[in-house]
């Protein structure tokens, strides 16, 4: 588990949305091999999935070359399944979905072996 709290958030006691993010199916390789991360995402306006993707890229991917493993054309790259509380994000509004405290967001690579 990995607690990420942006410093100025702590200082200003700004509101945050507390969520859990999981990287499954091997995606954890670009996140220090940590599969589960508890996040406090800065909240000024409603925080959307689009904001979360920005936050992940800016604060959690150490090697910028790895960003293309996660994103393509401004959204989650093909072959990664995105789930909001165990439900396909396509059913929840995709990039426009507004995060709530306690949400579990999962990203999983599609597996191909057999």
């Amino acid at each position: 588990m990995n607690e990420l709290i942006s410093k100025d958030i702590k200082r200003n006691k700004t509101r945050m949305v507390k969520i859990k993010v999981e990287f499954l199916g091997g995606l954890d390789v670009i996140f220090n091999k940590e599969r589960v991360h508890n996040l406090n995402v800065p909240k000024e306006d409603p925080v959307t999935m689009a904001d979360l993707l920005d936050f992940i890229v800016e604060t959690m991917i150490a090697n910028k070359k790895d960003v293309e493993v996660f994103l393509e054309n401004g959204t989650v790259r093909p072959g990664i399944i995105t789930l909001i509380n165990d439900t396909d994000w396509e059913l929840e509004g995709e990039l426009e979905y507004v995060l709530e405290d306690g949400d579990i967001i999962s990203f999983t690579s599609t597996l191909h072996g057999g």
Partner: protein, 288 residues
């Protein structure tokens, strides 16, 4: 034969009795559905090796096996239907030998070919249900596309390392297909981590066993148009064994294969105009 007074032989009653009395199976009626079913298993590898004997044991009437690969020593830790004396033999023939002995009531048909756009329809059209036990995105798109066009469901699974995934595609020609989930294939480079990942035998074996269970449900009608909801199951073997079920999108109206205006139809596939090799970018996919 289901109208005859003794639709099963005494030997068959003895053989299937312990499964027929399970309430979720539903007795003779379901056993006869299994007997009438024709199931195509594509790939006699890590997933096919457990799926095949359980389907054969359960009494599926006809089982086709598509695999043009031969048994190799490096397969045997996970492909436990084969054995060391079969190294070099076609996997589909090796499997057939074992399955014929397990249950002589089941007809095993082998296809020692590499599935492609030119041979898929001819094979699929003889079956009611297909199991995707293959290991490349290219084949997964092809299997789904052909199954949609032939009008049969796909029990589709995959696994790498200690993890596995399973879904049912094109259920009753209403459920989503592989392209509904993945309209765009992953970039070839993204699959590379898998090629070095290896696989633990019983982890991929567990997922293949799950496929047999889902196939039985499809055949006997446990899933219906009313109760079926698109799903993706995700199994993880380490550190603790977990199984999660994700609720997935339904059929996509924009889907090129099963949507409102499909362009990936039988003619397009068979003419070779759907270039799966080009579409998926590379043959480096063949990773597990």
């Amino acid at each position: 034969t289901s109208d005859s007074p003794h639709p099963l032989s005494l030997e068959e009653y003895r053989r299937y009795g312990r499964q027929m009395i399970v309430e979720d199976i539903g007795g003779l009626k379901s056993q006869l559905k299994l007997k009438a079913a024709k199931v195509l298993v594509i790939g006699a590898g890590g997933l096919g090796c457990p799926a095949l004997p359980y389907l054969t044991g359960a009494g599926v009437g006809t089982i086709g096996i598509v695999d043009n690969d031969v048994v190799d020593t490096s397969n045997l830790h996970r492909q436990v239907l084969h054995d060391s004396t079969k190294v070099g033999m076609l996997k589909c023939e090796s499997a057939k030998q074992v399955l014929n002995k397990l249950n002589p009531h089941v007809e095993i048909v082998t296809y020692p070919v590499r599935l492609d756009y030119s041979n898929a329809f001819e094979i699929f059209e003889k079956y009611d249900c297909v199991l995707d036990c293959t290991d490349t995105p290219l084949t997964r798109y092809l299997i789904s596309d052909v199954a949609v066009n032939v009008g049969i469901p796909v029990v589709s699974a995959s696994g790498v390392g200690t993890e596995g995934q399973l879904t049912i595609l094109n259920f009753q020609n209403e459920g989503p297909c592989y392209r509904c989930f993945f309209p765009t294939p992953p970039p070839p480079t993204s699959v590379s981590s898998c090629s070095e990942g290896g696989v633990i035998g019983p982890c991929i074996g567990l997922v293949g066993t799950m496929m047999a269970i889902e196939t039985i449900k499809v055949i006997i009608g446990s899933y219906t148009s009313e109760n079926f909801k698109p799903f993706l199951m995700m199994y993880s073997g380490f550190p603790q064994q977990t199984l999660r079920t994700f609720k997935m999108r339904g059929r996509q109206s924009k889907c090129l294969t099963c949507g409102d205006h499909p362009t990936i139809n039988k003619e397009a596939i068979q003419s070779g105009s759907i270039n799966y090799e080009l579409f998926c970018g590379s043959r480096n996919y063949n990773v597990c």
